[in-house]
Symmetry: C2
């Protein structure tokens, strides 16, 4: 059971491979048909202490066996370290190990490691290879695909970054076994998003699953299907809109209100996936009130989000006016109008700036 999804970008074609157990064969993936890296070239594996302890040696062994000159760079874990200062540590390792134009960085970790490694690779010697080996569900279905890389500014997320496509995204679903439950659910929120905006069949397959709230209840086949279809959805959208002008915007479904809720709770009480879940419930209901979506589909979305163990209501004591103010200050707001992604059917969404504050207020009050 293995899927390879081509991402045929005109300048930077690459593949996403979803292959159980592939961590032990990364060396062959990098020298095989999918991607031919220069034999004996240098590879810098970038990871964090926890992930490296669990999986680092297997990756290094396989790469070394394939003939690469491998070194590693271990960064502190956590979103708060996704900064220019941490990227500087990657540069230092690149210098120490004399990485050249033909060298490769391998990002072994979640979105934090992936974003920083991608950014370092895009700016070291004005751009060297990066291979993404995502280890969280969120990174597998979202962060590792699309070429967005970057770090945070003390006053705003992802303000500093670059577009830099990976040479390969290698996904080993087995690493998800060690992923904390809450991180798993955060990833599932994005998968549900793809079901709503792009892939009705993916949505239905998840509806048919008995449980979805923990990885151990998801059988290998469904997991493979979830990963493959999600990656296909993101790759499709990114492919059609590499530098983010139009279509790519639908990937923000659930994220408008989601981000606001996340940030108002200090990114702790409500994490990203939970914010997206709440945001999808809100956006779905707004779509219904605006006559764009039917209540039945909206209820099906609600049930699926609940089944995934994700929140469907605002956290207690949430100030609705604060959410509205936060929406207005979002960096994506153009001339004062908040843009929303709204579903029109399971599997299809549109974008609009016609959602009024009163509409948002009234829907949030019911939540």
């Amino acid at each position: 059971m293995q899927s390879v999804i081509p991402v045929p970008l005109p300048q930077n074609a690459y593949a996403i491979a979803i292959a159980p157990g592939s961590l032990d064969h990364i060396g062959s993936w990098l020298t095989g048909e999918t991607l031919t890296l220069k034999p004996q070239s240098k590879i810098l594996v970038v990871s964090n202490p926890m992930i490296f302890r669990a999986y680092g040696q297997r990756v290094i062994d396989s790469l070394t066996q394939a003939g690469f000159q491998v070194t590693s760079c271990i960064l502190p874990a956590g979103e708060c370290y996704k900064t220019p200062a941490t990227v500087q540590k990657i540069y230092d390792a690149a210098l120490e190990n004399r990485l050249e134009r033909s060298s490769t960085m391998v990002a072994l970790g979640g979105g934090v490691i992936g974003d920083m490694t991608g950014f370092a690779a895009s700016t070291w010697l004005r751009g060297i290879n990066v291979v993404q080996v995502p280890t969280t569900l969120l990174a597998m279905v979202d962060a590792a695909i699309g070429g967005k890389t970057g770090v945070n500014h003390p006053q705003g997320k992802n303000l500093i970054g670059a577009f830099h496509q990976p040479r390969l995204v290698l996904i080993d679903p087995q690493v998800l076994k060690t992923l904390p439950m809450r991180e798993f659910r955060a990833g599932i929120a994005e998968v549900i998003k793809y079901g709503i905006i792009w892939d009705a069949e993916l949505f239905e397959k998840m509806e048919q699953a008995k449980r979805l709230d923990q990885l151990r209840y998801v059988d290998d086949e469904l997991l493979q299907e979830i990963l493959t279809r999600s990656c296909q959805a993101k790759a499709h959208v990114v492919n059609k809109d590499e530098k983010e002008s139009g279509l790519r915007e639908i990937l923000n479904y659930g994220h408008t209100i989601g981000h606001a809720v996340e940030s108002l709770t200090g990114y702790r009480v409500i994490n990203h996936g939970e914010g997206v879940a709440i945001g999808m419930v809100a956006a779905g209901q707004i779509a219904v009130e605006m006559g764009l979506w039917d209540q039945e589909s909206c209820d099906r979305q609600l049930s699926l989000i609940e089944k995934a163990g994700l929140p469907t209501r605002l956290p207690d004591g949430m100030d609705i006016e604060a959410i509205l103010t936060t929406l207005q200050s979002d960096k994506k707001v153009q001339s004062g109008k908040v843009r929303f992604v709204l579903p029109t059917a399971i599997g299809t969404a549109i974008t609009t700036d016609q959602v009024t504050s009163d509409m948002i207020r009234s829907v949030l009050k019911q939540m």
Copy 2:
């Protein structure tokens, strides 16, 4: 008297305009035919204290009059400040002034300001507009063109960077009047380089000039010709080889030995242009000894370099073996072979890795 050189890159076409007095009309250039920026959009002018004092207000007035929302960011002067830490100050200004995707950074200065501003623009929100307004001869004919941006790592120049094409390069030759003589000559070294590797007519026009060692002896017409032909040469080469694989290499003529001499003298005794001058003399002689070039052309090159007030011999006490060792450690060295650009005629050059250490040694000993 005004030239506009189109740089028709498939994805990022832009123009280089060489127009005396254009500093006072930058507002119209940004809203005119050559480049249509969003009216009322935000512009951040990045400069250093000296240049900003001399020219900043004129730029700001013209931009403001054209309807832009203009702010500025003044960085410390000098190569030693071309660092990630200084770029961070541009990010801070970008944040404070809430630059958006549609905003523009204007680099008003030499190559140091140009490289940092270009890099900040390429990474702010994953890429916003940059307009280069070069104020040194070197930046006009070299640094501002081609899309290379970047900063230094404590242990190596330009190790961190990105390719990011400007939306416009606006050259006002009149600002050269305040440029120190030594900086002017450094720029002329690059111009002579273009004459040798690309444009025999440019070379001959400079030969015909009475003096070339100071700007005040160069008449406006020749200056316009020098700027136009140099920009054309660089634009041509860059155009054919945007991401630096083959052809672009010829731009390194004189730079192989030049860099070594520069770095061995701590970048002070011998500056970049002087290093390039010495490097061209050496490379020219190597080409002659290898039977690739005629002695007469080589002598003409020597005379022109002398006329420009540039050095043609190694500084006193220079250790030739140290130069050879430095060549070997250059980041561009592939598998131990130093690559040289050698002229085969005035106006044409080739690249080769067939130059032996003995050959380099014997030529340097005569210098």
